[in-house]
Symmetry: C2
Subunit: 584 residues, 2 copies
């Protein structure tokens, strides 16, 4: 037996017991006549003590020489601690060591195993197994486990069935790039790893499974932006015989349950906002509504004066930044520089200081009088003491720029509180999205999303205006889930494929099995998928998903710990009937 107790278990009530502990040497304090060893495991730290009065000298010597992270087993008696440590649960006791066994030695770790480590991201990733010993990482993984368990329990209690769908499926050019898996047994053919179990969950609905869920890995071979992973985890759900309202209620229930169980936060009813309103009011389809700075559109009150920049703009739009009228010229110039950065892309910024005395001072005083500016204040909701920031130009990019500014200011002003939770349903998404480059439309959600009732005809005349039965769940400015009511009849699905530019042959080759299935009594159905990595990170009060993944990959899709991907043997290539076209 390696241990009778863990290093987090012993209390004052255990004083007098003989115990065996195993763990890692966290710290050794050698005061000459007495040596203390902090012994650490997943459950906590227990102080071991050895001293000249009560401990054999060779044992004391052995303890003195223990290096950090050595794995040891210690036997001894639980005794009361002279100077108690109220900061740890085991702080009332220590263990007077009578036997000490070194189970495994350790080299000096490349970074300190402390909550605040001296290791940078790269080295921590290379030695991720050491990083996981640190409380913040360990606790994130345990937190994720708790979340997953809670999700499964809730959905199972609601009658959802966890069904495992296959990982070796078929490539579909639609959407992001697939990871491909050459088949040895079927020469020249490839499997693809699923970007999501979308078609399978729909087939389960056709199969009468009624309520399906799965916590499942998905794969996208995309160029990785910061905080994207080539493999990620989804809470994937689908229901039959439902309308949008049923889905929203069901998964609002799940999210409320998680917020309550995991965070102790109770939220009554989640607000809902149309996609159009979200874009108009926040310039963003995933607005963070924990704070204000709602957009005010100023075309009516700012155009048709002599200011050509505004007059020629499709959209003039501003936000009232609370308490920022006191910004110095230098601070405001810095803001203007910020919006002009290439990543944001604004041409410039007009501002209005709403002074405490009710007067206004703007960067466009030449064109607008106090009365004009008062109207701007009214539209943006600015109060005395606020600063109105105004951008103008083509509607879409201008909204995106002002949204970026709004988020930046909120971050700077500490308005994005990690312990505050503001969920929001964004609904009525457009069905199609115009690819500006090619001038063609593609599905905003995916090609199985159903248009709003009665809007199918619009596909012919004004495809961009067709709204979908599609919805996103937004939490604190992050999309944590998204889904739709699906098309469930073959004709509508064929029409959709046509408008997405598929020939009937292409549609049949790729989704023939789904369209076949729709001929055999497909029920109305819809679903949603949550990004578990992000959901866990947000509920964990953090923004970086990598901190909640045991073995994440870096921005080049590499696992730097195991050094993958890697070159393979020629023999393996031969078996797959493949040849590299270059050798790098």
């Amino acid at each position: 037996m390696y241990r009778s107790n863990t290093c987090g278990a012993l209390r004052a009530s255990d004083i007098g017991s003989e115990v065996i502990l195993s763990g890692w040497v966290h710290k050794v304090r050698d005061k000459g006549f007495v040596v203390w060893v902090d012994l650490r495991d997943r459950y906590g730290i227990t102080q071991l003590v050895l001293d000249e009065d009560r401990t054999a000298l060779e044992l004391l010597e052995k303890a003195r020489e223990l290096g950090r992270e050595t794995v040891i087993q210690a036997k001894g008696q639980v005794i009361e601690r002279a100077s108690k440590n109220p900061n740890i649960p085991t702080g009332d006791i220590e263990v007077l060591v009578s036997e000490l066994t070194i189970l495994n030695k350790s080299l000096l770790p490349p970074f300190t195993i402390e909550d605040e480590t001296d290791g940078g991201e790269d080295i921590r990733m290379k030695y991720r197994y050491l990083d996981i010993r640190r409380n913040p990482v360990k606790n994130n993984l345990i937190f994720r486990h708790k979340m997953s368990m809670e999700v499964r329990k809730y959905l199972s209690d609601q009658g959802f069935v966890d069904v495992e769908t296959p990982y070796l499926i078929k490539s579909t050019p639609e959407g992001a790039r697939d990871f491909l898996v050459p088949s040895r047994m079927n020469e020249g053919q490839f499997y693809a790893l699923p970007q999501s179990p979308q078609t399978f969950k729909q087939l389960l609905m056709v199969g009468g499974m009624d309520k399906y869920f799965q916590i499942v890995k998905c794969f996208r071979d995309e160029d990785l932006r910061a905080d994207r992973q080539p493999e990620f985890t989804q809470i994937d759900c689908e229901m039959a015989f439902v309308e949008q309202e049923d889905i929203l209620n069901t998964f609002e229930g799940l999210t409320k349950h998680l917020l309550k169980e995991i965070k102790g936060v109770e939220i009554d009813k989640f607000p809902r906002m149309t996609f159009d309103d979200a874009m108009r009011l926040y310039g963003n389809d995933k607005p963070d509504i924990r704070f204000g700075m709602v957009f005010g559109e100023l075309n009516a009150v700012a155009q048709h004066k002599d200011f050509g920049v505004f007059n020629s703009a499709e959209l003039v739009v501003g936000i009232a930044v609370p308490g920022a009228a006191s910004y110095t010229r230098k601070e405001i110039d810095a803001l203007i520089d910020w919006v002009k950065r290439p990543q944001v892309g604004a041409k410039g910024m007009v501002y209005v200081k709403c002074n405490e005395d009710g007067t206004y001072k703007s960067s466009v005083d030449k064109f607008y009088d106090e009365q004009d500016l008062a109207k701007w204040a009214e539209v943006t909701g600015a109060k005395p003491g606020d600063l109105i920031c105004v951008l103008s130009g083509d509607a879409n990019p201008t909204r995106a720029q002002l949204s970026a500014l709004r988020m930046e200011l909120a971050n700077r002003m500490g308005l994005r509180k990690p312990d505050e939770f503001a969920p929001l349903w964004v609904i009525d998404f457009p069905l199609l999205e115009l690819d500006e480059e090619t001038g063609t439309y593609h599905a905003m959600h995916h090609p199985f999303t159903s248009p709003k009732p009665g809007q199918l005809e619009l596909l012919e005349t004004n495809p961009g205006a067709v709204k979908a039965n599609a919805y996103d769940l937004v939490l604190n400015g992050n999309e944590i889930g998204g889904g739709s009511i699906r098309i469930h009849d073959k004709e509508t699905q064929a029409t959709m494929f046509k408008h997405l530019g598929f020939t009937p042959e292409e549609a049949k080759a790729q989704f023939g099995f789904l369209m076949d299935a729709f001929q055999y009594g497909a029920p109305p159905h819809g679903g949603i998928a949550f990004g578990l990595d992000r959901l866990v990170a947000i509920l964990g009060g953090q923004e970086t998903i990598r901190d909640f993944i045991a073995f994440p990959k870096n921005n080049s899709g590499r696992d730097v710990m195991i050094d993958a991907p890697a070159h393979i043997d020629q023999e393996q290539l031969d078996e797959l009937h493949l040849k590299l076209t270059h050798t790098s």
Copy 2:
């Protein structure tokens, strides 16, 4: 709202309620003046009724023409059924239909959606979404869900943490063939799909995670025997600071819990048997101990007579087949033919009838008298009325042949009862296995398995004799789980790699990260993995895992429903810098 109730919900207490049901038309019975429709969903069947007295004629007409598997919505009143059906929970009531909406039509399904269908395996796999509508398949999937939930709950309650390990990892030539995934971003390099999360779970132990579990997909690109799948699901577990005894107790606990919760079967203590005993007594490392026919080794009592076949054999071994002394000559000849089939491979079979009157009649009466045969009966435990079947030859193949015969006879005699459960720990596996073809040793379990204490030196002198801290859990003749105590120090691991024929460079290239990790304070650890597909099938009282997988692949690794794997675009190949060496 598509439904107020499911098709399995309504009871006599609902009589008088107005309800809305949705589901599939299971059957229409048209008696002219009255039409009954069996409406089916996941939860059951409810009878709809329409008749000339109470239903509008056009509604009656509509109902009459409903094809099987049409998806409909029906509104109506719950009424008492004239002739009750005690076989279904809704049998006391029916719904008098006032509104009927066709939600989706269906072609005639290619096989009947009944518990006993007329569809063969191939057609059912192609239309798996229809197959899933059938109760046996649907119930298997729900049963699997219940099992998974119960496993997670039990392990989580025991302090195990569900940690997701990566799917895009590194190829290792050890063991079965990997599925490979070409990396687009890292030209010429490949990921591999995990055959198991073995190294990651060991790294989690190095990381102090202490107790890990995961229900996880694993992948093996092997030529598929019947009832193997290229992707399969494991309950994967690992613990730190444990000895073999701790692991056996913990997972005996899990298995007992499942047997009790899922099957209502209580089993006290699982028996244990060494690998050597299992081979000696059952000729098999996964013996089915639900029945007897234990091997009796007859060398001592059958050799050194004049029977050359036995005298020259390494092993003479028999079983007593209960009650089979009455077999006719023809039946016995058929048994002899059976063992001589190429799949079994015996040269012949000697038999002894133990007559009810205490006399013996054997096929080798020329060489053995009654006294000799009485000794055979003693060794094999044969009683009057039994038939002793004896095989001889080289020990290993002879044991395998007799084991095959034992299982065949048990199947024929109905001794393998699906509702009887006989778990067994097989322990003390050999560390290494001789590859007869190449004359080299490879790891029987995997290269991380630790030898029994003190046996490391034997590796040099008699590698085949080294026993491992490795164990299998066997249930009803199937290996449902297997694991080992791992090596946790770098030196032993290096020695192992050496004996497995790795050069230090190869070991470093493939497992360098693990050996590195072992330098930083790896704790003693061990684990186990259960094959979930098989475990579910056995607890479900069946043998075929395919029946418990939503979307299984066939013996060529194909998903015949979605038609995968498939050819891909040249463009996709180009992006991966790959070329096919043949085109087929």
